[in-house]
């Protein structure tokens, strides 16, 4: 489980040591499905939903087939239950996952963007109080 910091960090990292292996993105999902719980500050839900809209737009207009596949299995929900300190919980459900494809929101927003997306990164980072990421393997589908 990850906080918002590693997943959305935008600051340039220090130069890696020679031969260092880049850290794997937490948004490269390894299982059949994935779930993220985005805990959003109560006064930033409009920003967060605006960014979700931008993500949808970016995925849908992408010419990369994997982005279309990602969009097909990606749903966004809002929880009725309040989060810590009155925050609002948004659940992203990725089912099925597109294997070996990065779901990092900032990367998706940046692809093909004609405008400066840095304000979106900042708005996203500012909106998130915490983030939980779960990689999921299917145990049972009760419909089958």
């Amino acid at each position: 489980m990850l906080s918002a910091n590693p997943a959305f960090a935008q600051a340039a990292p220090a130069a890696p040591a020679p031969n260092a292996t880049p850290a794997k993105s937490p948004y490269m999902f390894t299982g059949d499905a994935a779930l993220t719980v985005n805990v959003v500050k109560a006064d930033r839900t409009a920003d967060f939903e605006m960014i979700v809209g931008k993500l949808q737009e970016a995925l849908q207009k992408s010419v990369r087939p994997e982005r279309t596949q990602q969009a097909a299995g990606w749903k966004v929900y809002k929880a009725s239950e309040p989060g810590p300190s009155g925050s609002v919980m948004y659940v992203f459900l990725f089912d099925p996952v597109v294997k070996d494809t990065d779901y990092t929101p900032s990367a998706i927003l940046a692809e093909g963007a004609l405008e400066d997306v840095r304000p979106l990164y900042k708005a996203l980072s500012d909106a998130l109080a915490s983030l939980t990421i779960l990689n999921l393997s299917l145990v049972s589908d009760f419909s089958k």
Partner: protein, 161 residues
């Protein structure tokens, strides 16, 4: 910053007592009963998610009982049980839960509105007395806390549509 899921999702957390209380109260209340709170296992929105924390050495028991839940739903004559089965998936998380627990995620999408997702009731409907025994096995498999989060969800958007 790594945050435990139990803390991170505390607002959606229900205690084992609240979720699994099966014993009726010992005495009738002195005052007229207040309106009963709706069951947390009723999902009035579009979807539901339950994060179950299971003891690492009890996952086989937990999965065995889930197989029985699936069987009970499949053989039920009730249309609402069929509707529940149609949208109910069980996943296992790669990430560990608190105290080394294994996280099983129930995803109900779509939910069967008005149908209660109480595993104990489904087991007893399907297997009568054996269902009680199965439910005990299921309950005994839970860690502490038992439920990391129980979330009632409203769809915001499907990014592919």
């Amino acid at each position: 910053m790594v945050r435990s899921i139990a803390l991170g999702l505390a607002a959606g957390l229900l205690s084992a007592t609240a979720v699994f209380a099966q014993t009726p109260p010992a005495a009738a209340p002195a005052q007229p009963a207040a309106a009963a709170a709706p069951s947390p296992f009723l999902f009035p929105g579009d979807a539901g998610v339950i994060l179950n924390f299971v003891k690492a050495d009890k996952t086989a028991d937990f999965e065995m009982v889930l197989g029985k839940v699936k069987e009970a739903l499949a053989k039920s004559d009730k249309p609402e049980r069929k509707a529940q089965a149609a949208g109910w998936k069980v996943f296992k998380a790669t990430e560990p839960g608190p105290g080394g627990a294994v996280i099983y995620v129930f995803v109900m999408d779509p939910v069967a509105k008005g149908a209660e997702y109480k595993v104990g009731d489904i087991l007893v409907e399907g297997f009568a007395a054996e269902g009680q025994t199965l439910y005990k096995t299921y309950s005994d498999a839970y860690g502490t806390p038992a439920i990391g989060a129980l979330l009632h969800l409203t769809k915001v958007v499907e990014l592919g549509k």
